[in-house]
């Protein structure tokens, strides 16, 4: 059993979890919900074990490093962050219907990871830094929160639209009220913004310790700042102009688009220093 096999199981487990939550959302059979939670918990544990095992394997190869250093590893950690963040929300709000709008992101992240080469390769000198670990962890906690906020934004818009057409007795009625949903989106955005800020800062400190420049307008850096501006604008609009509801829901979707471009698009479409993930 090696870590890439474990993480392969994780992919299937998250896919199953996503399918179960969507099933629960569509058919509203309570039993599916319990199974979905159990599967998600198990998937999360396998995911954790996979990351841990990969860490051990790298040490056995004599090149020990925290498995957070390339696209494959960051996608695995992204899925892990989404799962733990969602499980926390499920526990806190005692509502399983949110899973259909969160766990698909974890499944997609793992599916994207499966397309990458899982081989453990030694780190180039610049990546051998504790600031790197801090940078990746903070960024991906933020990204996970933005992913979930995007899912809830979509949910909000669905529910908002349905409410206008058919007020009672549809599948969306199981969901938290619009007011609670709006509150969850806002809190998730705030949480993500905090971690994104910390992620940009730890990245700057790392860059300064490796190259002597904390900011160099590299495409990755610039896009992280663009994302930061978008969410900063959303928060200002809410705090001072009372924006809420569908407008913040749209912000959470557009913001996540920018997050995904920062994380994924920049590496494929633009060139720069930040070529490792």
């Amino acid at each position: 059993m090696d870590s890439s096999q474990l993480l392969g199981f994780t992919t299937f487990a998250y896919l199953l979890s996503a399918v179960l939550y969507i099933g629960l959302f569509v058919f509203r059979v309570k039993k599916i919900g319990t199974v979905a939670t159990v599967v998600t918990l198990a998937a999360f544990l396998i995911n954790t074990a996979g990351i841990g095992l990969r860490w051990v394997e790298s040490h056995q190869m004599g090149i020990g490093y925290a498995p957070l250093s390339n696209m494959y590893e960051s996608l695995v950690f992204f899925a892990w962050s989404i799962a733990i963040f969602y499980l926390f929300l499920e526990f806190k709000y005692k509502n399983r219907y949110l899973g259909a709008f969160s766990m698909p992101f974890a499944a997609i992240a793992m599916a994207l990871a499966e397309m990458k080469n899982p081989q453990i390769t030694p780190l180039i000198p610049a990546l051998q830094s504790n600031w790197l670990i801090a940078h990746v962890v903070t960024c991906f906690i933020g990204y996970a929160a933005f992913a979930v906020a995007c899912g809830f934004g979509i949910l909000y818009l669905l529910k908002n639209r349905k409410k206008e057409h058919e007020p009672e007795g549809n599948m969306l009625s199981q969901l938290p009220s619009l007011r609670v949903l709006d509150d969850i989106i806002h809190k998730t955005l705030v949480f993500g913004f905090m971690w994104l800020t910390a992620g940009i800062i730890t990245g700057a400190v790392w860059a300064n310790s490796a190259w002597g420049t904390y900011w160099s307008w590299d495409p990755k850096e610039t896009w992280s700042l663009i994302t930061w501006f978008i969410y900063a604008a959303a928060l200002h609009a809410r705090f001072t102009r009372g924006w809420g509801g569908h407008r913040i829901a749209w912000f959470s979707i557009v913001g996540f688009g920018s997050v995904m471009f920062t994380y994924y698009g920049v590496n494929f479409l633009l060139s720069g220093l930040h070529s490792y993930g």
Binding site: G62, I63, T121, P122, I124, P125, A126, Q128, S129, W131, V180, D183, V190, F193, M194, T197, A198, I201, A204, V205, N208, S209, A210, W211, G212, T213, Y214, W215, W217, P219, T222, W223, L225, I226, F229, I230, A232, A233, H236, A237, F239, T240, R241, V266, L270, S271
Partner: protein
């Protein structure tokens, strides 16, 4: 006149302007990530044609993050932050330091969160009971006599209202740090061959030589490799010399630079020369000499009566990745020449009749250092810490206030509990409910 002045201030303090600037910064920042930056003018002509390239030059697109209009946008953001803070801070400060025991009592009955109870005891008894209930729920209250009764007040996190201004200030501090860095700092590089010292940096971009008032000696450079042959670590043993005297000695690696007199020296690259540093020691006389030897070329050392001649005549890979073994031919005019193998970085003892020699060999490199002087970096870091503290206060701490007015209405005691929170009203509802449940059960006990 004063009306104009006000509308001018209102404009620069407005959130509308902030949203506008954030939007334009976000959109214009995209340009520089799509169009390559800081390339020579010909590159733009080749990529985009003559006319577009001209337009780009006019708009400073090739170096847009340093262009006048981008700096202007950043300046506008700063101005917006400063004016907004100056305009709002006095009111917010008043809220933070406000004596809430003087609150207009008629407001209490209109607050969204409120509960009324009618305990059987006197108002003084009720007041002390409520006070205890509040303490046990973590609300430290103060009290005062007001017309018709007793007013209790407790609050948490009034200072959190300042959080957002701390965040705004932190952005200004970061900009100040960046400006200090760009006016008083510079970046450059130096290439120091092993065993030599240098005191000149070549500035990035301009290539201008800058002289340091001290010099850096590179004693040794080591390159280690992974099994795959990929570089694992670069390491340089550096010595700082002031007027030729050693003042500091330190090994640096990537991610672990040397700091001296406001300058930071980063390990960034290296240059191989296909030459070798050889040290030859006569152990009997303790005479020693260092040479720079090229493979396949004879080296001579005149020592006493005998001439020593040696050369590197072959090389071989070892099991260790990237480490080579070298074959040496050695003669000191006493009998047959010796041949022996020596590892890169190793040392070999060579017995020759009644004389013993020690022969060491190491591949010769120059270490590539990146040098920066950035006196603004600590302002930037302080700004970053302020930003995180400010965001924490602004997002996760709310200013919660609870008033309890205990009065005598028609001979009966009445307890009015009311409260507000400046954010997170859903969570406050729950906290308020917990407190009022406690007060209710304590009063009826």
């Amino acid at each position: 006149m004063s009306k104009n002045k006000n509308s001018f201030i209102d404009f620069f303090a407005s959130v509308k302007l902030a949203l506008f600037v954030l939007f334009f910064l976000a959109v214009s920042s995209i340009i520089g990530t799509v169009i390559p930056q800081k390339k020579p003018p010909e590159a733009y002509i080749e990529l985009y044609g003559d006319n577009m390239a001209k337009l780009f030059q006019v708009l400073d697109i090739p170096d847009m993050y340093n262009s006048w209009w981008f700096i202007l946008l950043l300046g506008l953001l700063c101005l917006n932050l400063i004016v907004c803070t100056i305009k709002r801070l006095p009111n917010v400060w008043r809220m933070v330091t406000l004596d809430n025991l003087t609150t207009d009592l008629s407001r209490l009955g209109k607050m969204k969160e409120r509960k009324t109870y009618h305990p059987s005891g006197s108002i003084n008894e009720a007041a002390s009971q409520v006070k205890n209930s509040m303490t046990s729920c973590g609300w430290k209250s103060s009290e005062t006599e007001r017309e018709g009764g007793i007013l209790l007040f407790a609050q948490t996190g009034p200072w959190s209202r300042l959080g957002v201004y701390v965040v705004h200030a932190s952005i200004i501090v970061i900009f100040i740090g960046a400006m200090i860095g760009s006016y008083f700092g510079y970046k450059g590089s130096m290439m120091i061959p092993e065993t030599t010292s240098k005191d000149t940096i070549f500035e990035f971009g301009t290539g201008k030589p800058l002289k340091l008032d001290f010099s850096i000696l590179c004693e040794r450079f080591i390159l280690t490799r992974y099994d795959t042959g990929a570089p694992k670590e670069f390491l340089s043993d550096l010595v700082v010399l002031e007027q030729g005297k050693e003042v500091l000695r330190r090994s640096i690696e990537v991610n672990d630079p040397l700091h001296y007199k406001g300058h930071t020296f980063y390990q960034s690259s290296y240059e191989p020369y296909n030459k070798f540093l050889v040290t030859l020691t006569n152990n009997n006389t303790a005479q020693s000499e260092r040479f720079l030897a090229e493979p396949g070329k004879e080296v001579k050392w005149k020592m006493g009566q005998s001439d020593i001649t040696y050369g590197i005549i072959n090389r071989q890979a070892t099991n260790e990745p990237g480490v080579l073994n070298y074959k040496i031919w050695f003669d000191d005019e006493s009998g047959e020449p010796s041949t022996f193998w020596i590892l890169d970085g190793g040392s070999v003892s060579v017995p020759r009749g009644d004389t013993d020699y020690t022969f060491t060999l190491k591949e010769f490199f120059a270490t590539g250092l990146q040098v920066t002087k950035d006196p603004g970096v600590w302002y930037v870091y302080i700004g970053c810490i302020l930003m995180l503290l400010g965001l924490t206060a602004a997002f996760f701490v709310s200013h919660r206030r609870i008033w309890v007015f205990i009065s005598n209405e028609d001979g009966k005691s009445q307890v009015l509990v009311s409260g507000t929170s400046n954010k997170n009203s859903l969570a406050f509802e729950k906290t308020f409910e917990k407190l009022t449940n406690k007060i209710d059960s304590d009063l009826s006990a």
